[in-house]
Symmetry: C2
Subunit: 235 residues, 2 copies
Amino acid sequence: MIGLLEIYIEKTINFESGVTNLGQKKISRAVISRLPRYYRYLGELLEEGKERISSNELSKRMNVTASQIRQDLNNFGGFGQQGYGYNVKTLSDEIAKLLGLDKEHNVVIIGAGNIGQAIANYHAFDRSGFRLKGMFDIDPALEGLEVRGGIKVRLMDELEDFLKENDIEIVALTIPKTEALEVAKRVTKCGVKGIWNFTHKELNLPEDVTVESVHLSDSLMKLFYKMNSNEESNK
Amino acid sequence: MIGLLEIYIEKTINFESGVTNLGQKKISRAVISRLPRYYRYLGELLEEGKERISSNELSKRMNVTASQIRQDLNNFGGFGQQGYGYNVKTLSDEIAKLLGLDKEHNVVIIGAGNIGQAIANYHAFDRSGFRLKGMFDIDPALEGLEVRGGIKVRLMDELEDFLKENDIEIVALTIPKTEALEVAKRVTKCGVKGIWNFTHKELNLPEDVTVESVHLSDSLMKLFYKMNSNEESNK
């Protein structure tokens, strides 16, 4: 059993055992948890058309020490070269593989309110393998509303068939919390393995279902708390 | 200098020194980071009309051991009583004080798109002292749109005056990331001390400004990564 955030490289990037001596190297939970941030910055560099970057430049942008960056990235192969730096595309691709972003994930959003529509239209997600296949709502007034190129809101009675026919792995739940658990149970019965949960309700589901919750209220409390401590410490 | 998530009780809940022997007790960063979650659950209990709860019941609901709960809550006073449990309202109020949620915070949202409107309408935030005072956008077509009881979208040329006249402490940024830094600088010049940042852009601002970022793409990557590891470990 391998911890969620603690992996062996050979498992995740599928190096055949023996092909590389990195095969047995363990990447710490802390490094893995920093990878999405690296990936985000590398994406910005790609958008700007930058082909390579030194650890010093990346350090300034990310507000992390250059030695931390070198240490983190050396963990999975050290692609940086003296006097050249890192190749942005290669590094981004390697991190994508480590995080499993090189695979496509078919997604359905349930709840066509503001949050649901916002997620549907974040084109930045496409880069991570997010493939929006369908959008559902309980409200007949929304049926047929086009939320994104060709994708129209469907009603909940079509849900089960749609999930199975379209090989949906992930459901984003952007519905009231009172409905959250019931809908989550419905979709996991159809083979959905991941729930992106915006409902402010914690979901206890079978172990083989992964739940990632976005608790906006926790984030807001953190902001208040940090502001409060900041004020107190400046007194 | 006190770390952001490491506080002395007397600072935050303003116990006069000497009035209580809790005065010098330090609450660990780990406990503080769990408090928003306790607060969320206690809010659910209040909504259900529950007046008291035992650590065992709370443990089942939150999927945390009862001894962890007792340990965490004893940190700031041990309101639990043998055979009675915790008084839900008292506990919730104490956590609110620790997190600084008992104070009101005047908020303006900049960006009246889907995310901005979603935040404006999350009534759950009201309980944490979130007071929406205004909503701004760059798009003249949105001017005057009512987003929530009496609050209408204003255009950006009114921004500075509005922030100063309404004593705004916090701005939620729900705008494209290309505009994020410029707008953040504009508002901090008007005395705003906290930015709730949804822009997918990291903001480096003066030290006395607190930034709390919601990176939805990081959350999505975490979901993909956890699903990937889950699959691998089940092979």
